[in-house]
Symmetry: C2
Subunit: 499 residues, 2 copies
Amino acid sequence: MTTLLSSFEARTGAVLDQVPASTPAAVDAACDAAAAAFAPWQAASGAERGALLRALAAALEGDRAELVALADRETALGPIRLNGELDRTAFQLRRFADLAERGEPFAFTDDPAVAGPPPAGHPLMQRWSVPLGPVAMFSASNFPFAFSVLGGDTASALAAGCPVVVKAHSGHLLLSNRVFGLVQGVLVALNLPAGLVSMVQGGGRDIGVRLVRHPAIAAGAFTGSTQGGAALAAEAAARPRPIPFFGELGSVNPVVALPAKLATDGAALAATLAGSITLGCGQFCTNPGVIVLIDELQPGLDTKAINDGFVAQLAEALRPQQPHAMLTTAMRGAFEAGVAHWAAAGAEMLVQDTAAAGQPPRPVLAQVSALDFIARSALREEVFGPSSLIVRAASLAQALQVLQAVGGSLTVTLWGVEQASDAARALVRGAMAIAGRVLFAGVPTGVAVTAAQQHGGPWPSSSRPESTSVGDAAMARFLRPVCLQDAPGWLSARAGQPV
Amino acid sequence: MTTLLSSFEARTGAVLDQVPASTPAAVDAACDAAAAAFAPWQAASGAERGALLRALAAALEGDRAELVALADRETALGPIRLNGELDRTAFQLRRFADLAERGEPFAFTDDPAVAGPPPAGHPLMQRWSVPLGPVAMFSASNFPFAFSVLGGDTASALAAGCPVVVKAHSGHLLLSNRVFGLVQGVLVALNLPAGLVSMVQGGGRDIGVRLVRHPAIAAGAFTGSTQGGAALAAEAAARPRPIPFFGELGSVNPVVALPAKLATDGAALAATLAGSITLGCGQFCTNPGVIVLIDELQPGLDTKAINDGFVAQLAEALRPQQPHAMLTTAMRGAFEAGVAHWAAAGAEMLVQDTAAAGQPPRPVLAQVSALDFIARSALREEVFGPSSLIVRAASLAQALQVLQAVGGSLTVTLWGVEQASDAARALVRGAMAIAGRVLFAGVPTGVAVTAAQQHGGPWPSSSRPESTSVGDAAMARFLRPVCLQDAPGWLSARAGQPV
């Protein structure tokens, strides 16, 4: 009997359609097909890899109107955001095409022989990069294009020379199936094996666990909750042959705002921050979930009054915001539970309007002391949705302890360190110690696809903080070095190229 | 009550002396001291890091005669090898000093702002590297200098900006204490915190587990058995905050020798291989433990006769070899048990002399069919000692299946692929798929410390095959990227430097 999975209209919860869940045999077949596609794809040139990635970008753009309309029904993210996300997805497919064409996956270190005895003397050595093999890619709920079937994980894995088995997210099943249909068309048109990109779908955790456990799978890439990612990472580590599992997990993204900055720019920053907290209904990995204010007295600044004023400005800017519906009813439930945990842990609720029945959630702002935040782990957990927690620190030292208590975050934002000072240096050090990205202006939502981007921070924000799921370095996750020693001429002459 | 650990004379098993085991409180104190030393060491310049590493190298060399004599008593590795290993250890300390002084740990990617809207437009971004924090370093039995207290793990961690807590190996306790005494003297002379390098010692697994579990420890580095490394890697993954664990584990290092090569160079290659198998009593991670011969008929070559001839040459070259004593009686016992497993699994024992009572082990050569090797996992396990297993493959395809059955190895050596051919390419692909280093001449023992070196292969030879414990890239294990977005002028101007 086939299990059916339902796609829901995000704004109403009504069932849109149903699709069959993948059987265990179908998961295995996808992995076996990926294994069979590995050798020819590993041998493909940068130009061939680039051609596939460009064709996939063009296919997305060619079906834009239908894709965005379908995505909007399943996610409620709205056409402006979804068109922008499709643009970004096509952009990063082409960016990895550029990298493949420029030979980045085939980069090597040449280390000519040095005459003489060891330790200084050594033979000719060349350090090549080789792809790991088939990648199990777990789509995210909150980016139906950019972290889904043809998102950055798939693009970077294909560029690196790895086939991909996509686990579709149950929050946008119809969109995933439509995008996957485009992929299949492109693979046929380019005469590439169908197993190069497969897709599986299922409701519970069984499908994902089976995928991670399959012997042909060489790496996992995941975007989602810390709990879900940790469970799959444990599966990856417990295999007879453990595999790397690149999990981009939960994050609270502290913003530390210094009073001198708030004294001059408070109103504008409050407006910007309110927009960031509610953007996409707060459903971003980089949503600013913790705002640290420092009440320590400073010469010529009534810091407490400034911070109180900023809190009032932020509350005022937040109240009129109209977040759209959340991605799924389960996520809406988790959001409300998370806010309730804050209140139960003693947070002062500053903004908390009750949403009308059947309406999207209202934004939430709460406040706690740094001592409470440090003492109570419930206050440090990510609340995924349009909410933020103000943490009042009595001193710079206490603000640094707040960052330490967070432990790991995708981002930390520092407002007010434009000038060098001991305090500025201490904050930069404290932020760099726990984050993958430190911002000095603006808000953490919005992750540019660039050469220097780092979208992965210390645990619990990532399972592999040395890696990134966004930016050029994302491809490095799926490559491994191999040193060739005394390679014969025919081989060393084509160092880095597929053999 | 203090637990005493015994140091043994490797050649006789007699107790040399006793040293106290570290208490749990001492382990914690070492980790806490490392945590306290992290901030100042992270802020140290490349010149300061280089000065420490150079002083450590000089201290080793200054105490050479005593160190080598003590190491020889505890390991039986002999003064020639031990002097060479001390040279290598000093060389790699100075090499990481060079890298630190050149600014390698502070390397960054500059990514200037691009005007315009996303996805193409983006702010100024700079990708820095930051050290992870205190490293727990587990010394190896078989390299009392190069993979011990001041070995490559310690050198690369210090260069990266990380304090180190060394777990001394019980096989050379007195040497470890003497080297650690030198370290303490250098730290005092350079006015550096004692916690920058600590040492703990213990007999069972408790000390190591406590070390890996300590909250201050940010990474583990280990050289040893697959079993021991896997257990510690599991501890590292099960922490509340998981940490990376870089384990360089067991490896069988296949040598694939093509008949045409053996037809011309068989005698010389047999002599070289016999030397490699028995070098250091076979106690190298890169010992050639599996020799694959291909009996497939070829025009003009009586392959089976050539291979039989080479086996006879190798047996003849191996029989007169006189390995020295093994490092410990436990390792001697494990060696004999491993050889017994081969015999029990049906291997034909070609060379297996009985050692006289109290004498070092005799070299062992055995032979199996490829089909048996693939079918019986007992034949694929590393036998640490002066031994090798010949695997007779009926075809090139079967030889490739043998490599696949090995699954992961630090090295694969290919003899006879000097000319390009389909067979040569298939072997290169098969070797690169399972190895960290592929050699085309010579033998895998001897691992040069160079820019392109890769000493880490797929599981079970390493827990992190993307990393290396030897060569310049060893330092990358202890660094993590952080992207600074819109960094103010005072900060972006000193990109990469300690803040």
